[in-house]
């Protein structure tokens, strides 16, 4: 950076009034440096892996989306936005997008409302709370792929328990996973079943943190029916938890893949094909990686936008204590 010190410069320095750094200032600088080092050491590994495993792949996706690269190919060329144009013009993608929206709009309200209802019932009851909590939380912990196979057995058109039970009751049966009108709703029901426990546990924690005095005040003020208590105290106080549950469940619903892959493979036709499954099929079955990357980019954009909109909208309605 700088050349060797000339004699005159050196002597100038020597002639200048001697700056004795204040011990406190020196100490403060030293402490700040060591603090920075500690911070770097603590955050470093996480930052490194975040960059390598998340930011770089995302950047790579953006780049690949602009190319015609096929999985395993040794050459590629930039094609600009043509992948995106193709995606938007593709009826298959549009069907997949609509399916995803339908799936999410069944799973999110279903999970939130049922999760809240179960949490309220468990919290309101006296006995076997731990048992009920565990029963409802189990599906969330289980591997969904394995559970999907269990569901496949249950929903089997001839030997499945569901149809046998319906038949025994004299109700109409269906080929649940092969009927284009019910395949997607059935997958959504399985999605609700899986996420229910998670929502319930969060709501239970939220219910525990509501001060009892608020319910007492509601009783004295005359809001003593369950619906009034719910509207005056419970729901408003659960606002922050509800917002978190909605966002997380929505993200999980957008990411639905396992059940589709195992149970329907997007069929019949494209009746149950969701975005992540389209992405997978294009990239790894048809090996059109550039096209798949474009789908991934659009997927990311949609999910991010929706989440931001949710946060903005709900934040105005939610009261934080």
């Amino acid at each position: 950076m700088s050349g060797p010190l000339t004699l005159s410069e050196a002597s100038d320095k020597r002639l200048m009034p001697i700056e004795v750094p204040l011990p406190t200032a020196q100490l403060a600088r030293k402490r700040a440096l060591s603090e920075a080092l500690v911070a770097l050491a603590l955050a470093g590994p996480a930052v490194f892996f975040l960059v390598v495993l998340f930011f770089l792949p995302v950047a790579a996706i953006f780049v690949i989306a602009l190319t015609d690269w096929r999985f395993g190919a040794t050459s590629l060329s930039f094609v600009g936005l043509s992948n995106f144009r193709e995606v938007c013009a593709d009826a298959g993608f549009r069907a997949s997008l609509v399916n995803t929206v339908v799936y999410v709009s069944i799973v999110v309200p279903g999970t939130v409302i049922l999760g809240l209802a179960i949490a309220l019932v468990i919290e309101g009851g006296r006995s076997c709370r731990g048992l009920y909590r565990a029963i409802h939380f189990l599906p969330f912990m289980a591997t969904l792929t394995a559970m999907a196979i269990a569901w496949e057995a249950l929903l089997h058109p001839t030997i499945g328990l569901v149809n046998q039970a319906l038949a025994a009751l004299g109700l109409p049966t269906a080929n649940w996973l092969r009927d284009e009108n019910v395949a997607l709703p059935i997958l959504a029901v399985i999605g609700i079943w899986q996420n229910l426990g998670y929502a319930m546990v969060l709501f239970l924690a939220g219910l525990k943190s509501i001060p009892q005095e608020l319910y007492n005040a509601a009783d004295v003020d005359g809001a003593d029916l369950w619906i009034d208590r719910l509207r005056t105290v419970t729901l408003p106080m659960l606002g922050p938890v509800t917002m978190f549950v909605v966002i997380v469940v929505a993200l999980r619903a957008f990411e639905a893949f396992d059940t589709v892959k195992v149970l329907t493979q997007g069929g019949p036709g494209r009746a149950s094909e969701v975005l992540l499954y389209t992405l997978y099929r294009e990239s790894f079955e048809y090996l059109r990686t550039g096209y798949g990357a474009a789908v991934a980019v659009l997927f990311l954009a949609i999910v991010t936008t929706l989440t931001l909109v949710q946060v903005r909208f709900m934040d105005t309605k939610v009261h934080y204590q």
Binding site: L214, N216, A217, D221, G222, D228, T232
Partner: protein, 392 residues
């Protein structure tokens, strides 16, 4: 306006008795304070009055009407909670309007959007808003109506809680330690405001506190509770100067009352801590009694002798106009605390030997099991039972 009467209330929590046969009657318009240390059952009693808890036995009447089994909203009471229990998501105006909305609007009329379109809703809502704003103004919180509780100071929240209780004109106000979350200065100010509120509204107040100063300054009568029992119900000055019971005497007053064990020497004289004091009653020689002497009952004596106690000064606390002098007496572990006027006791130093006198009428006498013995001034001299034992 209503009187309140509590008859033989009992309450256990998983076999632990919290209230043991508590009976109390509160006159219409009276300010009664339930005073006791935490865990004595005073809040439970208040919650039973409010209908938030159900007693195991006994009965509660409000305005001559048995209210057992009635929901809180049917009891014509309002309650101010320790934490204020304001609904944090509602504005001050909505908080205060809620009790009126719940009473005057039907379930349909309270529906979020549809309710407003129903006939009558607009008129009732306008009336409620007017009453809320009127009440808020009378409490000096009119400008806070659009705010949320989170944006208010402790004192303001307290006023909102009082406003929410006031707005529907209840017959009885129940207050559960409403000042305990405030700082000392604000507490004194709000205390005065509550007293003024009681004077202005003229309704019955039942106030729960563990703070003697609040109980003494606010109340018409104080009910002292210890371990689930009512020990004494009397005006504040009587609770202090004329306690029925050793536990009441020890609970009330700061610094604590001085308690000594003594043995009656002869008629009118009792031996205490190596000295002899005159007592205002005659008791059989050899009777063991406990003496309670308030710190301010002592005066500085020139010399020792009958009617005085002598000890060495352990510590002095200057309180401005007063001195608290801690004296070590021979043969007694606890120091005697005397509250002396600073101007009359200027030159006291630790280690000094000091004589303090006490007039016989300022000595409270208790049996060894804690019951108060009052000299029976009405009975003729030389009666067989010179003391009247006070029945609890």
């Amino acid at each position: 306006m209503a009187s309140v009467s509590i008859e033989s209330i009992r309450k256990d929590y998983s076999l632990v008795p919290v209230l043991r046969n508590v009976s109390l009657s509160i006159a219409d318009g009276e300010f009664l304070t339930l005073l006791g240390p935490s865990g004595c059952g005073k809040s439970t009693l208040l919650r039973i009055l409010a209908g938030l808890e159900v007693q195991d036995a006994g009965s509660v009447r409000i305005a001559e009407r048995v209210v057992d089994g009635l929901r809180p909203k049917r009891r014509d009471i309002a309650m101010v909670f320790q934490s204020y229990a304001l609904y944090p998501h509602m504005s001050v105006a909505s908080n205060m309007a809620l009790p009126l909305r719940m009473r005057r609007l039907s379930a349909l009329q309270r529906l979020p959007v549809l309710g407003r379109l129903l006939p009558g809703t607009a008129q009732i809502t306008a009336d409620i808003d007017m009453e809320v704003s009127h009440t808020a103004k009378s409490l000096g919180i009119g400008h806070l109506l659009p705010r949320k509780p989170g944006q208010l100071s402790g004192g303001q929240r307290q006023r909102v809680a009082v406003g929410r209780a006031m707005v529907r004109h209840p017959a009885v106000f129940l207050m559960d330690e409403p000042l305990s979350n405030l700082d000392a200065k604000l507490r004194v100010q709000m205390r005065a405001e509550i007293k003024e509120l009681h004077r202005r509204l003229g309704v019955t107040f039942v106030y729960v506190t563990h703070d003697q100063a609040e109980a003494m300054t606010l109340s018409d009568r104080v009910a002292v509770m210890l371990d689930g029992e009512l020990l004494q119900v009397a005006p504040p000055q009587d609770i202090y100067a004329d306690p029925d019971n050793r536990r009441v005497a020890e609970f009330i007053g700061s610094p604590k009352i001085n308690m000594f064990d003594g043995v009656v020497r002869e008629r009118g004289l009792i031996d205490v801590a190596g000295s002899t004091l005159t007592i205002e009653a005659d008791a059989i020689t050899g009777t063991a009694l406990s003496l309670g002497i308030r710190p301010e009952a002592f005066y500085l004596a020139e010399r020792g002798g009958q009617g005085t106690l002598t000890g060495s000064v352990r510590m002095i606390e200057h309180m401005g106009s007063d001195l608290f002098v801690y004296l070590d007496l021979a043969g007694i572990d606890q120091p005697l605390i005397a509250r002396l006027l600073a101007e009359r006791a200027p030159h006291i130093v630790p280690g000094q030997t000091l004589h303090v006198g006490v007039r016989p009428e300022r000595i409270l006498l208790f049996t060894r099991d804690g019951r108060r013995l009052r000299p029976d001034r009405d009975s003729s001299k030389g009666a067989v039972t010179p003391f009247r034992e006070v029945a609890r």
